[in-house]
């Protein structure tokens, strides 16, 4: 199917790339289908775009948090594994949004509310790690994913 993307213009993608986020994500509850696009098509980048299929301008800059913060931990509870139909934790992809104002060195990742995708079932959701002290703005370029 053809999708208009913010970063890459028009792309032709297989339907099996479509991800359904039943309730959208906070602030964007009406955006229910996305595709996950690597920032670098050759696959060497830890960055991605979560691109809405309905609105080209809605494309979230994401990172694989474990590349930068190896001790980040996300526990997938029963409710989540049910909602995403996760049969094997290895089917889960965990990503976080990244925001930056001016300087790349000030970039932060939202460790408090990661996005979890079940690639096999093509489902996704943003979850909130309620009982953790992870921050919504955690510096991306710091060594440890310390809980504050």
């Amino acid at each position: 199917m053809k999708i208009q993307t913010e970063q890459f213009g028009e792309l032709e993608l297989d339907d099996n790339r479509l991800l359904t986020f039943e309730r959208g994500i906070p602030g964007f509850e009406d955006e229910t289908t996305f595709v996950l696009l690597p920032a670098d098509p050759s696959g060497d980048s830890p960055f991605f775009f979560l691109q809405s299929t309905e609105h080209a301008a809605i494309s979230f800059f994401m990172a694989d948090p474990f590349v930068f913060l190896p001790d980040y931990e996300v526990k997938l509870d029963d409710v989540l594994t049910d909602q995403l139909k996760l049969e094997d934790p290895a089917d889960a992809i965990v990503l976080t949004t990244v925001t930056a104002n001016q300087n790349i060195h000030d970039a932060t990742a939202n460790l408090k509310a990661p996005i979890v995708i079940n690639n096999k079932q093509q489902l996704g959701k943003q979850i909130v790690l309620n009982n953790s002290n992870y921050r919504v703005k955690h510096p991306l370029f710091q060594q440890a994913a310390r809980q504050v």
Binding site: G27, D40, S45, F47, F61, D78, Q83, A100, I104, V128
Partner: protein, 73 residues
Amino acid sequence: MLVLGRKLGESIVIDDNIEITVTSIEGDLIKLGISAPKEIPIHRKEIYLEIQEENKKAVSNVIDISDFLKIKK
């Protein structure tokens, strides 16, 4: 907004499957116990708003990402 007064231990029922109970009152901290179907997300409001704001900031057309693209795994 519907405002109902509740004392310690009293509850409110919403729809027919959500219940909120005042479980403790300690000074100005009130603890609320919430029973709801597990599919219904429940959050402290300020956290939810913070996440909404952060998602809006992460929409890529407001970020200059060229520096990020130089970083490899």
